[in-house]
Structures are given as C-alpha cells and as structure tokens.
C-alpha cells in the first residue's frame, strides 16, 4: 500500500513552520525577544505602507523559534519561544499547558537599583564559618505528638510556651514552698529572649563599626580632665598629687593665614555686624553716659564699698568728728 499520497496531502494542509533568513535571527529566549538583523527591504516596505494600517499587513507571518533554530515564513514579525524543555516533573497549576523553563537572558539591561550590599556577618555566623558549621534553618512549625498536629515553634500558641501554659506540672519532692513551675519556665523563656535581643543589639553595634564611640577609659580620662579645670582658678592653685600628669589640653588652633577672599569677607562682615549690633542693643538701666560708666566709677571711687558708703564718707567729715566728740 502506498501512503505517500496521503502523507503529501496531509503535509499540504499544514503550512510550514520554518522561515529562511539571510542572517539568522538573534533570539533571547530569557527575555522572549527576537532581533531580526536583516535590512528592511525598501520595496516591500513601501508596498506594505500603502495598505490602510501602514505596516499591518493582512496576514503577517510569524517566525517560530524552536530548539532547532528553525523559523516559519518570511516578513518576520514575531517570535515564539517554545524552545526550552517544558517541565513535566514540576507541579503545574494549569494542567492544560506546559510550563517552559527560561534560560538566563543574554541581553544586558540596566538595573533599577544598585546591587544589594552584603550584610555584615553576625558573631555566630563568623564563629560558624570558622568552625565550618553549616546553617540549618529551623522550620517555623513543629510536630506535636499529643495534638497530632503541626504547631508553631514560637509565637501564638507556640511550643516554647508549653510548660508555662500546661495546667499540671510535676513538682520535685525537695521543691521550695514558693516554687512556681510556670513562672520559672516563663522567666527562663524571657531571659532567653532578652539575651537574644542583647546579642542582636551587639551585632548591630559591631556592624556599625568602631566609628566615633569612646572606650570607658577614654571617657574616664575626659571626665577627670574636666573636673581638674572646674575650680575657680581653673585648676591653677589646686594641690598637685604625687605622680599626677600634666594636663594635656586642646591645642590652640589658628585660622589659616591665607584664606579665600570669600571666607575672609564673610568673617569680617560677621565681625562688623556684631559691632553694629552692639551699638543698637539697648543699654542697661544705670549705664548712663557712653563715655563714663558711672557704676564702674562709683565702684572704683568707693573701693568696692558702694555708692552709699561713699556718700557717707563724703558727708562723714563732720559726722565723723561728731562721733569722735562723743568718745
């Protein structure tokens, strides 16, 4: 029996799925993109442009990308990626169609944001790496034999609260009279949480780096230096202890001799502004004349005794004699 006729008629029914191109198409299966680098033919372009929707030819033909790099008819307009091995082993939400595994894209597109910075390792991670301990992630759920169900390891109804929540607890024979097993379990859990929190904070501090933090010794020295100059004489007449080191204070800093015109102008103007502001400032009552500070003059004349005693002295020439006369 000759079936070649039947086969030929069957083949004639189907249109071909391959396309011939001078330059093979560049296919980026990862991004589902095809680039046809063949130059656009001017004649067919202009011909297509006369059709109503410019390039929307009534029946544009589609090249089909396959694993064997074959393409269907010319005047390329699209690509179809069905090449990658469709996975049958993986669970498929829609059993009607296969899921295609996509390779990593070959086209490089710029990122939206910079690469994430690696997190600094915690103390435990450092230790684990040094010892070669591989991290085993704990499941959030844990199997409960009594309930015959999965329960939370921590959190709501967590297994770590089992002892403190149970209604009956065995008490050892030599237990204290105030022994409260649920409180004990609760305290133990609280301590573990607090310890973890403390370690977390330490990790954060370590991750931040030494930075500007001072050691306790430095802080002590600084406090001591402050107290030494905190007397009325700024520490000048204080008793020196034996073996006490000389105070090493801040070094004087001078402005650079040569600065930019801008900054010099700015500082001078600030100085002038200050002077100007002082004249505008209202004088204190009793200040009186600009040229003579009366209060200061009175203090000077009375040798610090004040205006009343000066007046008494001035009038005291007669008064004093009176007094003497009394004697």
């Amino acid at each position: 029996m000759d079936v070649s006729d039947i086969l030929a008629s069957q083949a004639a029914k189907h249109k071909s799925v391959t396309v011939e191109k001078d330059i093979p198409l560049e296919v980026d299966t990862g991004f589902l993109t095809v680039t046809d680098l063949n130059p656009i033919d001017k004649e067919s372009y202009e011909c297509a442009h006369t059709v109503i929707h410019s390039l929307d030819t009534p029946n544009p033909k589609v090249p089909v990308k396959t694993s064997k790099n074959t393409f269907s008819p010319p005047r390329a307009t699209a690509c179809k990626s069905s090449s990658p091995p469709s996975s049958r082993s993986q669970p498929n939400p829609h059993p009607t169609a296969p899921i295609a595994q996509l390779p990593t894209p070959t086209t490089l597109l710029p990122r939206q944001k910079p690469l994430p910075k690696p997190k600094p390792p915690t103390k435990w991670e450092q230790f684990a790496r040094a010892k070669g301990i591989s991290h085993k992630k704990k499941d959030k759920k844990e199997w409960d034999e009594e309930k015959q169900d999965w329960v939370n390891r921590w959190g709501w109804g967590g297994k770590n609260k089992q002892v403190e929540a149970q209604w009956l607890t065995e008490v050892p024979a030599n237990a204290d009279i105030e022994h409260d097993p649920s409180k004990e379990a609760r305290d133990a859990r609280r301590t573990r949480v607090a310890k973890n929190e403390k370690q977390h904070m330490q990790n954060l501090a370590r991750a931040q780096g030494p930075g500007d933090r001072h050691t306790p010794k430095q802080e002590n020295e600084r406090t001591l230096a402050t107290t030494r100059i905190s007397t009325a004489s700024m520490g000048k007449f204080d008793k020196k202890l034996e073996g006490e080191k000389k105070l090493r204070g801040m070094k004087r800093k001078f402005d650079p001799a040569e600065t930019s015109v801008e900054s010099e102008k700015k500082s001078n103007l600030a100085l002038l502004g200050k002077l100007d502001g002082e004249s505008k400032r209202p004088r204190k009552a009793g200040g009186g004349d600009d040229t003579l500070n009366v209060r200061k003059a009175v203090r000077f004349a009375s040798k610090g005794q004040g205006g009343v005693s000066l007046a008494r002295k001035a009038g005291g020439a007669s008064g004093g004699q009176k007094g003497r006369g009394k004697r």
């Binding site: 656009i40 410019s54 589609v62 307009t77 699209a78 690509c79 295609a100 490089l108 994430p116």
Partner: protein
C-alpha cells in the same frame, strides 16, 4: 529628597523592605505623566501603552509642568516616592507636536532619556479582534540591522525591552504567551550605512513602527505549532527626537551583575550543562561516563578448580568425585602430596 523614615510597625517595615535593592529585580514600574499640554493623540497613546504595561503602571492624570530634558528633579522625586524607575512623559508643543519622552532611572536618578514624536496612531478599539489579557508577558520582535549598529536604536531597543519585558523569569506558562509587540524600522537610508553616522542628528533616522499582535496557534503537523498573528493594536508610527545618553559611570554601575552563587552554578545557570539532553518525548536524558573497569580483580564464584596452583600440585590424578572428598578434608590432601 524624601525623609529617611524608620518603620513604626511590621507592615510598613515589610513595605520598606520590599523597596530595598534586590539581586534579581522585579519588573520596572512605569509612571505615565501628562505634561502641561498633552493633546488628544498622546493622551490616547499613553493610555493604550499603559494597558499593555499593566499592572506595573501608574497614571498621573493631572497636568504637570515637567520638562525632563531641562529639569528632571520632579521625575526623580516621583521615582523615589512611587518606587518607579520608568517614566513616559507626554507633551505636545508647537515646536514638538505629539511628543513622548521615555525616561529610565537608576537608583532614583535619571539614567537616560529618549524623546519620540507620534506621527500616526491607530487605537486598539479600531481593531475588532481579541485582545491579550493584561499582565501577560509579551513576546518582542525587533526588525532592522540598526538595532545592532546605531546608538539611538540600541538605546530605543533597550528601553522598550525594559518597559515591556525587563523582568527576569525562571519559567513561564506557555498558554500565557498570547501577544507580540513588534518594533520595525523603515528602510535604512544610505547615509546611515556610513560608519561616521552622527548619533546626535535625527535628520535621516528611519521611522519606528510599533505594532501589537495576538497569536493564534495552528496545527502544523509537527510538534511546533504554526503561529498566525492578528493585529491587536495599538499601532504607532514614531520618529526619534532628542535624547540623552546615559552617563558612562552611572551606566557602569547600572550594568553590574550579582555574583553567581555556588548552587546556581551547580544548577547550570553559570555554565553550560554538559551531558544532558531532552529526548523526543520531552524526558531529560543524562549521559554518564564510566572509566574502564579493572576486570582482573573481579571476584567470581569460588571453585576449587579455579584456585591458584591447583593444576600443578594434583596433576591429572584426581577425578571429579575425589575432588569433592578432598574438599571436605584439606589436611589429608596436604599429607598425600607431601
């Protein structure tokens, strides 16, 4: 700039963590911004491009005095505020009618920009054909040699790919592939074939035709279906106008790739997978190479006749039955021979 806020509750903390840089990034969120005057055509074009871009699209429907090429500060502000990294700004002026600007950002700063003018636009509604479902990944097709040679078109291709297809996926449901976005250029003018083509002049650049089609899969008699395309719309004819190329330093930062992890390399992402093939039934077949085995030391069934030095000692004296007896009493054998 925006304040750096510390999350006050777990929900806002999760939301902030979702915005942090990732190794494998999500699709770019695009913001469609109206300029001071947009015009009917650009408004429609932006609306339809947005329907192709959904769900990663945000519409700014009010007018905004924004000129990306002069001052991009408001774009950068919006990028930070909305966690978006792509902008399409529509602006129609007398000098540049029906203009659209594609702006891409990196790390909240403008990376590059490309302005196009819409010459012709056919809406989706004018094609009485089935449309693709929103959110489905399009296939993309670029046709012209200029997409490989001319800097303006390389940038345009990169931008359009980033807009519609920039997400890296591991696997895809094949039934969801239902539309094609095709970008075709006009015939290359002879002046552009010269290697000394100036990237800045837009004089001779061919028009860009963007078309969208839905696919129909037909039986082809073989495993690969024949794909027929039906125009879906929108259809756009664009001309390139101003552009701003990316700053080389910034571009370099944006093109940095994460280091492949060990398990990824083992999975085959980093290198070619050797000795694995998919057969016609779609099953994964592996080839295993085994070194030549040393058969000389192979342990076969133990028999007296195969023992070392058996033939020399006994000669042809013993028959089969006697062998059996002697096996039971090896001591006697030694006496005999001695």
């Amino acid at each position: 700039m925006l304040r750096v806020v510390k999350p006050k509750n777990a929900r806002s903390k999760r939301a902030m963590e979702a915005r942090e840089p990732k190794e494998v990034e999500d699709a770019r969120t695009a913001i469609f911004v109206k300029g001071t005057h947009t015009g009917e055509v650009v408004t429609k074009v932006m609306k339809e491009l947005m329907s192709l871009k959904r769900p990663d699209a945000i519409s700014f429907s009010k007018k905004n005095p924004v000129r990306p090429f002069e001052d991009a500060s408001s774009l950068e502000f919006w990028a930070a505020k909305n966690d978006a990294s792509f902008f399409i700004v529509g602006q129609s002026t007398k000098k540049r009618p029906n203009g659209m600007t594609f702006v891409r950002t990196f790390d909240g700063k403008v990376l590059d920009m490309c302005e196009v003018g819409v010459d012709k636009f056919v809406s989706m509604t004018e094609f009485k054909t089935p449309k693709a479902a929103p959110g489905h990944k399009p296939l993309m097709h670029f046709a012209s040699e200029l997409f490989d040679t001319h800097p303006r078109f390389i940038q345009l291709k990169s931008m359009l790919m980033d807009l519609f297809n920039g997400e890296v996926l591991e696997q895809i449901h094949l039934a969801g592939l239902e539309h094609v976005i095709s970008v075709t250029l006009g015939p290359t003018p002879p002046s552009l074939n010269v290697a000394t083509a100036d990237a800045d002049s837009t004089k001779d650049l061919p028009p860009v035709h963007i078309r969208a089609y839905t696919t129909r899969l037909l039986a082809s008699g073989v495993r690969i279906p024949r794909v027929e395309l039906t125009p879906m719309g929108p259809s756009l004819d664009l001309t390139l106008r101003r552009h701003q190329a990316a700053d080389p330093e910034m571009w370099k930062l944006a093109m940095k790739r994460p280091k492949l992890r060990k398990q990824d390399v083992e999975k085959g992402l980093g290198k070619k997978r050797k000795n694995l093939a998919v057969d016609e039934m779609g099953d994964l077949r592996g080839r295993v190479h085994v070194a030549k085995q040393d058969l000389s030391r192979l342990q076969t069934r133990k028999m007296k006749g195969l023992k070392k030095g058996f033939g020399e000692e006994e000669g042809d004296e013993s028959a089969g039955e006697e062998e059996g007896e002697e096996d039971a009493n090896p001591k006697r054998k030694r006496v005999k021979s001695g």
